[in-house]
């Protein structure tokens, strides 16, 4: 048995370190450490409730709008406020653009460059992959940066800038757009769609989202157009690298439901466990502090009663991350969970065959991009200029609120208590808090810790490449994790 510490992990958002126990060329145990603590929950105490919209987006530069949306939802819940239709449509568009941009950035800049590492130089597929996906130097990073920047013009048009907008409010959005801005957003979406259909997918988005099974995906990847696409290039790596057998976690999945609209969600709310759909009860969420550097607690607590008191000397601690559990159990969140819970046939078929793993997480993210663009187009068209986008709320004195939304990386929750007009408690459970949680009181490892067990370690590898594929397949956001 040998032990090693891997870190820093780059091409993840924020700081991450993983301790590994290795035997017979295989990872036997993993401990995930989030080594940066900033204390947003302490910062928010005593503040005016509306100021949460200034502070919480700044938890994270890549999930900034998602944090805004969770805060706005929690405040709206506390105020009993309903935003006008236009405001809700705009919120969905702004959140959806961030979600798409995050998946796009993850695929091209964070995830794919690992296949262009020298460790794979002897593989037959390597030259093609290296030319396209090599970090910094590869053609793809050069090609996608301007495409991504142009896509983010939607943020400039609708929300002022990205990241860190104040444009999303409990009562809607602060910018009432006119028909000109609406047309411009549609044109930007169409331009981005063209890139996706030409380079990312090599096919129409509707053809991609219509894929209904693993067999259909295989046939599709064998065709000329898709084969030349970036998704096609990834799909051809799955078999030689066994990416569908790498990084399996608990196979329990959670989605809070994404993009609330018309009294429902674009992507359903629910839990998928033991191979079937189950109901979600937010009352079953707890955070366990057993392995975090926190002051001793009286056991796991629901976030509405959560406490955050850091203690760098806490006994048994190995991370600043708490351990969220649903009904006491580990769950995985993210695009795979969302598309599975929503019942997308291809994703359901893939998970049925091989569970949650590196390949399926990445495929689900790309399917989600293809599903979101038409939704963004639809919501943008449904905005009705000259109708209200925003209503003022009420000054809160004593209230509680909860905001459960889906960020790109999965389920994000804010729980807020206001006493005498000030924030008395603000607790945040972020997507990577779920996925990269440490061991709980029972000693059960978190989702990524489970996923790393069984990862192969090649001879002489200091930072095993398989470990890196698994870690990055979750698209971790460490600044959100601990906040």
């Amino acid at each position: 048995m040998s032990r090693r510490i891997v870190g820093p992990f780059n091409r993840v958002e924020g700081d991450l370190e993983v301790k590994l126990e290795i035997e017979d060329g295989t990872v036997q145990g993993a401990w995930v450490n989030s080594p940066l603590y900033r204390g947003f929950e302490q910062i928010l105490n005593g503040k005016d409730p509306r100021d949460a919209l200034v502070y919480t987006p700044r938890i994270c530069g890549i999930c900034s709008v998602a944090q805004s949306m969770a805060a706005a939802t929690a405040l709206a819940d506390a105020e009993g406020l309903v935003a006008p239709e236009n405001g809700r449509l705009m919120q969905n568009v702004i959140l959806g653009v961030e979600n798409v941009a995050d998946h796009f950035t993850h695929f091209y800049l964070f995830f794919m460059p690992d296949f262009a590492r020298p460790v794979y130089a002897g593989e037959p597929w390597y030259p093609e992959i290296a030319v396209r996906f090599k970090a910094v130097e590869g053609a793809a990073s050069r090609e996608i940066l301007p495409v991504r920047s142009a896509f983010m013009h939607i943020m400039g048009t609708l929300a002022g800038h990205w990241p860190h907008t104040l444009g999303l409010q409990p009562g809607g959005t602060t910018h009432a757009i006119d028909h000109g801005a609406q047309a411009r957003v549609l044109a930007t979406l169409a331009t981005f769609r063209r890139f996706l259909e030409t380079r990312t997918f090599g096919d129409e988005l509707e053809a991609v989202t219509a894929l209904g099974s693993a067999a259909e995906l295989g046939d599709w990847a064998g065709q000329l157009g898709p084969a030349a696409s970036d998704l096609g290039m990834f799909l051809r790596l799955i078999e030689p690298l066994q990416l569908d057998r790498l990084g399996r976690a608990s196979d329990r999945f959670l989605s809070y439901g994404a993009y609330a609209h018309d009294a429902t969600h674009l992507f359903k709310r629910g839990v998928h466990a033991d191979g079937k759909a189950q109901a979600f009860d937010q009352g079953q969420i707890t955070e366990d502090l057993a392995s975090g550097w926190f002051a001793p607690s009286d056991g796991p607590r629901h976030p509405s009663r959560g406490v955050t008191i850091p203690d760098a000397d806490a006994k048994g601690g190995y991370t600043w991350c708490k351990a969220p559990r649903l009904a006491g159990k580990v769950v995985e969140v993210g695009a795979l969970a969302r598309q599975l819970v929503d019942g997308h046939p291809l994703i359901c078929d893939l998970v049925k065959a091989s569970g949650g793993n590196v390949a399926n997480r990445v495929i689900a993210r790309l399917i989600e991009i293809a599903r979101l663009i038409p939704a963004l187009e639809d919501w943008t068209r449904r905005i009705t200029p000259h109708e209200p986008f925003y209503v003022d709320g009420w000054t809160l004195t004593d209230a509680e609120g909860m905001g459960l939304i889906e960020a790109a990386r999965g389920s994000l929750g804010h729980w807020l208590t206001v006493t005498n007009g000030s924030i008395a408690s603000y607790q945040i459970v972020a997507p990577t808090t779920w996925n990269f949680s440490p061991r709980d009181t029972a000693g059960t490892p978190g989702a990524c810790e489970q996923a790393l067990v069984g990862a192969p370690v090649r001879k002489g590898e200091a930072d095993p490449v398989a470990v890196q594929h698994i870690v990055r397949s979750f698209d971790p956001c460490m600044v959100c994790t601990v906040h």
Binding site: I5, I62, V136, G156, T165, L166, A462
Partner: protein, 347 residues
């Protein structure tokens, strides 16, 4: 295939090296920076002749490969021309730095940053956290966060007021939450072109290319400001200063001249400037979306205008407000357009 060789282009000068570290922040300045356009960020580095030693979001190197890069810098094998820090320096708890230990080594991140500052030709603080402390230093500043060379508006921070990098320059503070990509790109270009003089930085070490302006400059709400025709709620078109906390007349940045993400800005999107380029941004003494007032008059008036004059002019201009401006100020859309221009050609 290599675009970042040891030479910038052919016979040009040797490439400058750049190392980017993150500590107590959100990573948002990097995410903003890679929204750079014409050129994009990687092309901008090529144009500037900058070779990226390591960047946490862009580079291949992880773990031991990263440590090797740091070792080469430490030993002097590879010169460190430009060090960029994103995020504040975290000193807590009790000065130990344990709120941010470097992944992989377990050393306090503040120690690595301090060590590399001593080796760097130039040091750039990217964003308000690295410049002055930022949101990480908000509230009671439990984590003891500071900027590189400032603690809020006071010189100090990690390296102190007297610090000079190898070039003789102090820390360059590109404050903002987030930074505008152009602020960083143009400063990097100026550094490598050799045109960045001491006079190009303001009293807080910020590049004057953006800090010589006020956010108010170029704001499309200026006509409303002139007449003190104020928005009564968010989403209204009127001036955001009187009721909604806008600090644009006091805050240094060119946000309404050099627009964001293809044409946006805070005030253009209907919400106030909250002074994210200024020290102390993270600890306002009033709610951000409210204007603090004394006897009905906003406390935060333009700094270089006598208060009595401002009050007198405001009263005068309010009385002279055209009905068009008055009605549009409290609407979400222009309900009264400017009257049609009576062209001289037509009678």
């Amino acid at each position: 295939m290599k675009t970042n060789g040891s030479k910038s282009n052919g016979s040009g000068p040797p490439a400058r090296t750049l190392l980017w570290l993150q500590s107590g922040g959100c990573g948002g300045c990097t995410l903003s920076l890679i929204c750079a356009e014409q050129p994009d960020f990687l092309t901008a580095l090529d144009v500037a002749g900058i070779r990226l030693l390591w960047h946490p979001s862009l580079s291949e190197a992880t773990g031991a490969e990263f440590s090797a890069v740091i070792d080469e810098v430490r030993s002097g094998t590879v010169p460190l021309d430009i060090l960029c820090l994103e995020g504040s320096v975290i000193h807590g708890p009790n000065g130990s730095g344990r709120f941010h230990l470097q992944a992989g080594t377990g050393e306090p991140m503040k120690d690595l940053i301090a060590e590399l500052c001593e080796l760097a030709g130039d040091v750039m603080a990217i964003g308000i956290c690295a410049s002055f402390g930022g949101v990480t230093a908000a509230g009671a500043n439990h984590v003891e966060a500071s900027g590189l060379a400032y603690d809020g508006s006071e010189p100090g921070g990690l390296v102190g007021d007297a610090f000079r990098a190898g070039s003789g320059r102090p820390v360059i503070n590109i404050s903002g939450c987030p930074v505008h990509p152009d602020w960083v790109v143009e400063t990097l270009l100026q550094l490598t072109l050799g045109t960045l003089a001491q006079d190009d930085l303001d009293a807080l070490g910020r590049p004057r290319l953006y800090s010589d302006h006020l956010v108010h400059h170029g704001c499309p709400r200026n006509e409303y400001y002139e007449y003190k025709a104020s928005a009564e709620k968010l989403s209204n078109l009127g001036c955001l200063m009187e009721h909604l906390g806008c600090m644009a007349t006091q805050v240094h940045a060119d946000c309404n001249i050099r627009l964001w993400n293809g044409g946006g800005s805070c005030t253009r999107a209907g919400y106030p400037c909250i002074s994210c380029t200024e020290p102390g941004f993270e600890r306002q003494t009033h709610p951000y979306l409210e204007t603090p007032k004394l006897a009905g008059i906003p406390i935060g008036l333009p700094t270089d205008m006598p208060k009595a004059w401002f009050v007198a002019l405001a009263a005068l201009s309010k009385a002279a407000t055209p009905p068009r401006v008055k009605s549009n100020a409290v609407a979400d859309y222009i309900i009264t357009p400017p009257s049609a221009l009576k062209g001289k050609a037509r009678k």
